[in-house]
Symmetry: D2
Subunit: 396 residues, 4 copies
């Protein structure tokens, strides 16, 4: 670890402790908008500290970090539900920023990227459809038909995260239904949310909460929704290639964020174990079952971090294609660890763990999705196996 | 299985299908009160059908069933979050009814039991305290001091389920702090909720929801709360003995209800597996991982039912003391199965499983408590081991 | 449980304790033949006690028990590696006896069944082939071609259990390769082991031991091996139907035997836990991890027994076809429990568990096969899922 | 990874493929001595290649590698049961060599270390006692009493690995029973195996095999066994400190060896999955359960390697004390992975996996000990928890 990243991590850790954790009493199920002014203040402070949007290249105002370096920051920020938002590197904005930097036209960058980088607007990514398995991206019903110099979009999406209040969506839609390869049929198109025909039906109630703002998942209907062709992001038909691009980076961000959550849940478990008395004198920590959970969690979290950072290094050195297997491996490995560590920590807290008085319930509910989104773990396992088996001469 | 119980089960199953499942769209996180009129209609209908409060003896208006027989009804009712309430056999009312029948004075039965049996009022049970491990019931801070012909109660309770709207609470409080046996120090006392000094602080937000009415968990402060000594339930100092009494029955009720939930989640998993397409043609059910989950769930649920009914039969034949080990075994065995089956079913539903559009999220969130309440699974495992090891000459 | 079976179980338990357990120092890897005289003495004693071949109908000299009744005996006998042999109900003789009673001609019964029932000879069952997955019985290379009034058998079998010293084999071979249904191509044929062309290549070294006699697994080559057509067992082409017949009974026998092993391993674990000291005073049983293992094993074993006996009762009442799902369920459920309980018991014994000074190593090694033979657990899970999914309208 | 270690690994891998794997048909349960001449030839060849005893410093004829570097070699050698022996770095010789280099007097090094380094003799390490839990090393009955200028040793040891044919044992015995600290009571003493009173009672039959030579575990009785005081290794009373020294290195060696076994079992599983047909056409690898096992094993093995090498680097940089937690973590983490990967590979092989025709059974049987020796996993988990909890202010 370089001096540079070590220094950065120290500063960010200090800021999390001084400024962010105190906000957590506001997580759930209270209103996002009630806390927004405070979050904006923190974002201002982060800008002043020169730590804003740390994930992007220096040319775009970021810190010019490698993926392995930013990954370590992502872990620290992930320790609070507010961390990544306060530093302007939360999903889906971070991915949208990445794609706009890499694929955006100058006009698109001026209109959509700049304000996103400045934190003046928010955005969303509209890919998943209720009627199709997210794990099979070639199945997609949403279409974008060329009408004059416009695309007319029709379709039904959901889990368009943070659509509530977003300025624009990047929409995945079929533009070339007859293309031979199913991977060459869809395109990514930028759709301002005030475009006629963009209808946010609702914030989906997820695990007991509809949420608000960036803490929500939108259901969207596109009905004859027209945008100029200049809103095409990347080449027509290159929707999957572009989506693939953001995937590798996003995986590292997510996994390191999950590890941040794990560490926090682990600390809560240990704190609880030493302070909760069972009977007159003995703390919970004297119980061997609790000790087993602590030891196994320590092992699982450390293994996760080593794997994710090793994968990040491989991507930094040789690109995402060279790390395809690892990128799938960390998905299911870390998602399972997250699930398990949260479960152990909740159980250690007993009834308190069930309440929204502490953060665990929030994570248990909302991070359950980690085993599902970006392809369920089961799909990634099959992918890993298929890649391995190719070395044994079998193509499945 | 007798003809009688077979007929009953058929009628109740039919009623669940015709009248109850349709209500489920109202589960969460919508208001309990908005649906209350419909629930009351259903309760009326159940009374007319002669199926009301089926768990109590015929002398008290019930069906006079054995525990093993009612257990099977509890499974059917447990298939919906509304089932047990509609039949007036939900917790904690069912337990309070049982204790009032067995321990209540004539006056208590007249004033508290009759309207409870009639479904005119609701009640709650106030035992768990935030500052003490629920698994160690001899640790309790709430006191009831004799002042003249009254008890003056002071203390802090939480997870007083259904306190919101309840007419009375049965409170566990220390009346005899100097009794030699720690198990002879507490008593159960009936406290009408309109008694001065009974303060419902809040409905605790649990897994993202504060809930309402019987679907809530209250935090209660007792501050110089006075009730006449005639509100003592059973003997003074017999609080644990009385609590123990309701435990065995309650365990069977709970476990069979969990099995009902399991069966429902299992059916949803199978339905999803045959209807959800992955790719152009193949349903999800063609995936061996899903097949494994179906087979393992089938095995786990069947094993659970056989164990719980076997335990119920033992209690019916020889009393709860003779089935002490089994009563602990089914707690951790079935709670784990419930957790696992719900997890598999949710995962099979993908993103939809995360939403409140279907019931799974409700159960995943609220039934997570099954591994905690009535003593965490870990405590029951140690208890079982200790009982087993006595046969090998070791007293732990 | 009837008085009859209760009395039988008491007598058999007493005999196991007085006569059988003491033989166990001779299990492994010592010679089977060195202990054979003692085993023969015990068999004689069992005959004198009127308990010989208890699984067969009274007409054939057995005790005329239902499957659920004999299952309970199988558990008690399974507690020792010698139990079933001493009572003449061990595999594969028990299965061969069952099939010969049901399918054998009078001549076959006279020549092969009578001496088997008398314990004068042993037999083996030759089905599994090294080149084909045992889980897919329609894949089979061994052929039996009609030549005059003989069958000429050619093929390669292995895991022909107890071939060493057996008087005859029942061989599964393809007689009707062109039959439309793949299930109508094979037949079962009785082959005396002294028939020219029957070559026992070796006792396969399994988990470190070649074994001897009935404690061995033979590799057999059939080379132009000719037997009279009168040696056909059941109809030609009915090989699978006949094999199916013995399967249900065999499953109950095996599963109950496994439960017997579980109980024994459980007892050893408890004994070890109370006697082994860690440090100056505390026995191993004070460790919560050990307590967890004891409690979970108690639960798992009890669940297993309830499931297997429930399945046996279903077979007794409605025949094996009605219990097809359950017969698959108990296979993978109980095999997994066996594996887990043995593993926990071994771990509790530490280094001693690794040695052949106690029985655990023998079972851990040889019962590992329980998850494989009669169809690997994975195959049974898929079968159960397929049967379940039919109720949801899907045929896989 | 340096060029140096990369080159070494390539050469060793090539040698394993050209010279070592072919020997494996001789593993089990055939005689060690029958293959000894071949092994000696291979050892000669390794010496000629300049790869002999690679783990020791250059001054002692080794390759002067860091622990992290040798760890990678240990993985490659661990891929065959013969690898480490052929390179003269197998346990317990490797540990004895390490201690003799660090603690041995010049005389001891001349007499015991030199021939050990040369591969002219073998040695053993005699610590574990049948009557005491190996996890609690302060419990020990073997004594060494000073009689004149000799130690007279009495005691009972077992699992003195490779005692059969060893030239000397390093014995752990209590020399200072009255020392205040229980960790200051024992000493390590060198005992030539031809010393009167050194009695090798037997090679313990372990998992079905008594073994021979270095593939055996001895039970030893020390009866008035006298050796000169100059055979004391390190200071008197420093037995634990000296044992601790070899532990860290040994842990890395073992864990990397286990990873080598995992990789080999993984390769066998993949080979089997692509070659074994189920039914007419589809290979086993089309089954998603098999794919899950492949993917999960890939993840588990990669996580293991990253953790062990990370631990080795910490030891290289800051010494074993700084890596105490990690040294315990990798014990239980990698031992569990080894167990699981072997189990999956065996299951994938079906009946063949049960036989001694392939290596899996050998590893499944003998590496089951990995979860037990050097402290059972359960003990290491408690140790890790205790170290973690110290940071939370609790000393257990």
């Amino acid at each position: 670890m370089s001096e540079k990243i070590r220094g950065l991590l120290d500063r960010i850790r200090a800021f999390m402790e001084s400024d962010v954790y105190a906000l957590e009493q506001e997580t759930s199920p209270k209103s996002f908008f009630s806390i927004l002014p405070e979050l904006e203040q923190k974002r201002m402070k982060v800008k002043e500290m020169g730590l804003w949007t740390p994930q992007v290249p220096e040319a775009w105002g970021g810190l010019g970090l490698s993926l392995a370096e930013f990954g370590q920051i992502s872990e620290v920020l992930g320790r609070s539900p507010y961390g990544l938002f306060i530093f302007n590197c939360n999903a889906p904005d971070a991915g949208n920023i990445e794609v706009l930097i890499s694929q955006g036209t100058e006009e698109q960058q001026e209109r959509f990227l700049r304000p996103l980088l400045a934190g003046a607007i928010r955005s969303c990514f509209s890919m998943t459809e209720p009627e199709h398995a997210g794990s099979n991206p070639v199945e997609m019903s949403t279409t974008a038909v060329e009408v004059g110099d416009e695309y007319m979009i029709n379709g039904h999406k959901w889990f368009t995260t943070a659509a509530d209040g977003a300025a624009f969506a990047i929409v995945m839609a079929v533009t070339d239904p007859l293309a031979e390869s199913p991977y060459a049929r869809a395109s990514q198109i930028i759709v301002p949310t005030d475009t006629p025909g963009f209808q946010r039906v609702r914030n989906i109630s997820v695990m007991g909460e509809e949420g608000e703002g960036w803490m929500s998942h939108g259901e969207i209907v596109y009905e004859n929704c027209r945008v100029p062709k200049s809103n095409l992001l990347g080449d027509q038909g290159a929707g999957f290639a572009v989506a693939q691009e953001r995937l590798a980076t996003g995986r590292i961000h997510h996994c390191m964020r999950w590890i941040g959550i794990c560490e926090r849940a682990f600390e809560m478990m240990c704190e609880r174990a030493v302070t909760r008395r069972i009977g007159s004198a003995a703390p919970l920590a004297t119980k061997q079952t609790i000790q087993n959970w602590i030891a196994e969690s320590r092992a699982d979290i450390d293994a996760s971090r080593l794997m994710v950072l090793d994968t990040a290094r491989k991507i930094d050195e040789a690109g995402p294609e060279a790390a395809r297997t690892e990128i799938s491996v960390i998905k299911f490995f870390v998602a399972r660890v997250l699930d398990t560590v949260l479960d152990r920590s909740l159980q250690t807290h007993g009834a308190l763990g069930m309440t929204d008085d502490i953060l665990l319930s929030f994570w248990v509910r909302h991070e359950r999705g980690s085993r599902i989104y970006d392809g369920p773990d089961e799909v990634h396992k099959s992918r890993v196996a298929r890649r391995v088996l190719r070395e044994y001469g079998l193509r499945l």
